[in-house]
Amino acid sequence: VGGSISHFGRLASVPLDYLVRLESAVRQSEIWSTGSEYQAIRNRIIDICEACKAKIFNEAPLFHRIYATAGEAGSNEALSEAEELAVRAVLRSTAGTFTVLHELLLFLPRESIRRELRDYCECLFRGEYDSSKISLILTSLFNAFEYSLDDVMRFLEADVFKFKIPNPDAESAFGAVMELAIVDRNNPMAWAVLAHEFGHFLDNRAGLTKRAVEEFGAKMNTTLPAEIVRALERLCKEIVADLTGYYLQGPCSIIPLANMSMLIGCIQDTPIKFDGEHGAPTTRIEMIRALSREDGIDISSLDGLLGALVAEEGQKETQLAADEQANRKLMHGFLTNFFDVVRPVIVEELGKHQLPRFQSGSFARGLQLSNNLASGLPIGAARVHSEESARAALLATKGPDPPAIREKYYLLEERAVSVAEVITAACIHRFQTMSELYGRAFDAGSGTQAFSIIAAGHESQDRLVFKSIDMIPMLEAHSASPG
C-alpha cells in the first residue's frame, strides 16, 4: 500500500485527535460528577487511553518525521513498507480503542450540550429551529442521529409506558431528537454534522423527499412500483440531509463524515459500503465537491483530508473481487445521477424556508477569518468595509481634522459573521495548523508532554471558536435593534 508521507499525516491526525478528546471528556466528567460509583469505569477508560498513548509515542520518531515532512509543500517522500505497517497498526489500534471506549461512555452520567451549540443551532437554523419541538442530546455512539421520539414511543411495549405516556398517536407529543456524539460536545468542527441531521428534521416536516422522488419518477417518464419508490425515498432522505448540510454550512458540512469514515477506515480493511440509505463516503464527497465547483468555492484548503480518505477508500476498493468493484461503480454512478436529478427540486424547496444559504462569499470570509483565528483573535465579527478602503478613506482627510475623521469611524464598523463562517474558519485553521501542532507534540521528550501539547492546542482553538459563536447572537441582536 503506497502513499506519500503527507498522506499519513492527514490519516493519523483523526484517530490521534479523537483519542485526546475522549480522554479529556472523561477527565472533565470527573470534575462535575465526583460520585465514586463512576470511578471504576472512569479509571479503566483512562488506563486504556494511557496504554494506547504509550504505544503511539513508541512511534514518536516516525510521527515526528511524518509531520515535519507533511508541512513541506509538495513532499512525496514515502515510508518504507515496515514503517507504513507500523504507522497503520498503531492507528488501527488507536481508532479501535477510541470507538470501543466511546461506547463505554454510556456508563457515565450524560452531560448536556454546550450553550454555544444551542447558539449555533439557533443562528444556523433560524426560525425553523424550535427547541420546544426538537431536543438536542449527546449519545455514546460515535455517530449523529435525528429521529422522532414519538416513533420511538410507538415501539415501546412496556405496560408502564402505555399507561404513563400521553397518547403517542397524537401529533408530535415528544417532538424530534438530534443526537451528537459525546466526544464532540466540545469539538465545534464536528457540530457541522447537525446541519445534515437538521435536514432530516426539515424533511420530515416539509416532505422534501416525497416531492423529489415524484419529480424523479416524472423525469424517468414511468410509474415506479411502490417498492422502488420506498427504496428511492430511503436514498433521497440522505441526499436531502446532505444538501441541507451543504446549503447551510457549505463544504465543511462533510468534514464530520470524512473524520468518522477515516476512523472506521483505519479499523477495517474493506471500503465503507453503501448501506441502502447512505451512499459510500467517496460518493458523498464527490457530490459536495461538485456542488462546491458549481458554486465557485475553491475547497483546496479542505481537500487534504477529503483526498486522503478518497485515496484510502480507492486503494481498498482495488482489493475487492471484480464483481464487488463493478457493483460499487454501479451504485456510485446511479447515486450521482439520481443526485443530479433531485438536487434542483430539493434546493428549490430549501429556498422556501427562512434559512441562511452558504455561498461562495461565505467561504471566502471563512478563509479570511481563519487568519484572525491564527492570530489568536475571536472571529464572531468582521469588518463591514475592507481594511484597504477604510485606510484609504481615513488617510484621504487633509491634515489633522478630528471631526472629519470621526465621521468616517463607520468605516471601522464590525458586524456579526454567520456561525457557518466561523465553523468554516475553524476547519481551515485546524488543517493549516495540524502539521505544526503534531510535529511539535512528537518532538516532546515524553508521551505525557506530547499529548498535553495536542490537548492544549485543541483547547485553545476550540475556546476561541466558542467565544466567537457566543458573541454572534448578541451582535445580531445589536445590529437588528433600531438606532
Binding site: A51, A82, A89, R92, G96, I267, Q268
Partner: protein, 126 residues
C-alpha cells in the same frame, strides 16, 4: 463492528518491533518481534477459536460429546474469521519453524508475518 482492544495492542506491539528490527537489524529486535508475534497469534486463537468436531475425542463420555457437538453447531465461526484463523495458523507454524531452526527470520518472512498480523487485526464490518 467488533474490535478487540487487547488484540489491537498486541498487533501494534508486534508490528512496531518489526519496524524497529527492519531498521536496526539487531537480533534483540528480531527476537522481540518473534515473541510479540507469538503472543498475538495466541491471543487471536483464544479469542476466535471455537470447539471443532476434531476436538471431540472418542474417549469422551457420550453426553459430553453430544453437548460438544451441539455447541459446535450453534457457534460456527464466520467465513471471515475462518480465513483469519487459517492465516494465523500458518504464521504460527512459520514462527515455530524459525524457533526450531534457531535462526533469525528473513526479511520476506518478517514482512509476511507482519502483514498477516495487520490484516487479521482488522475489524469486520457488521
Amino acid at each position: 463492528m467488533h474490535y478487540d482492544i487487547q488484540l489491537g495492542f498486541l498487533a501494534a506491539d508486534a508490528i512496531s518491533e518489526f519496524s524497529r528490527a527492519a531498521k536496526t537489524k539487531e537480533p534483540a529486535n528480531y527476537e522481540a518481534f518473534l515473541e510479540q508475534s507469538t503472543s498475538y497469534c495466541r491471543e487471536f486463537r483464544s479469542l476466535h477459536s471455537r470447539p471443532a468436531e476434531t476436538d471431540i475425542s472418542a474417549a469422551m463420555p457420550k453426553p459430553v460429546a453430544d453437548f460438544m457437538r451441539a455447541v459446535v453447531k450453534t457457534r460456527p465461526p464466520t467465513p471471515a474469521v475462518t480465513v483469519k484463523l487459517e492465516a494465523v495458523g500458518a504464521v504460527e507454524k512459520l514462527l515455530q519453524s524459525i524457533r526450531e531452526e534457531q535462526r533469525q527470520p528473513s526479511d520476506d518472512e518478517c514482512l509476511r508475518i507482519a502483514r498477516t498480523i495487520y490484516s487479521t487485526s482488522a475489524a469486520e464490518p457488521r
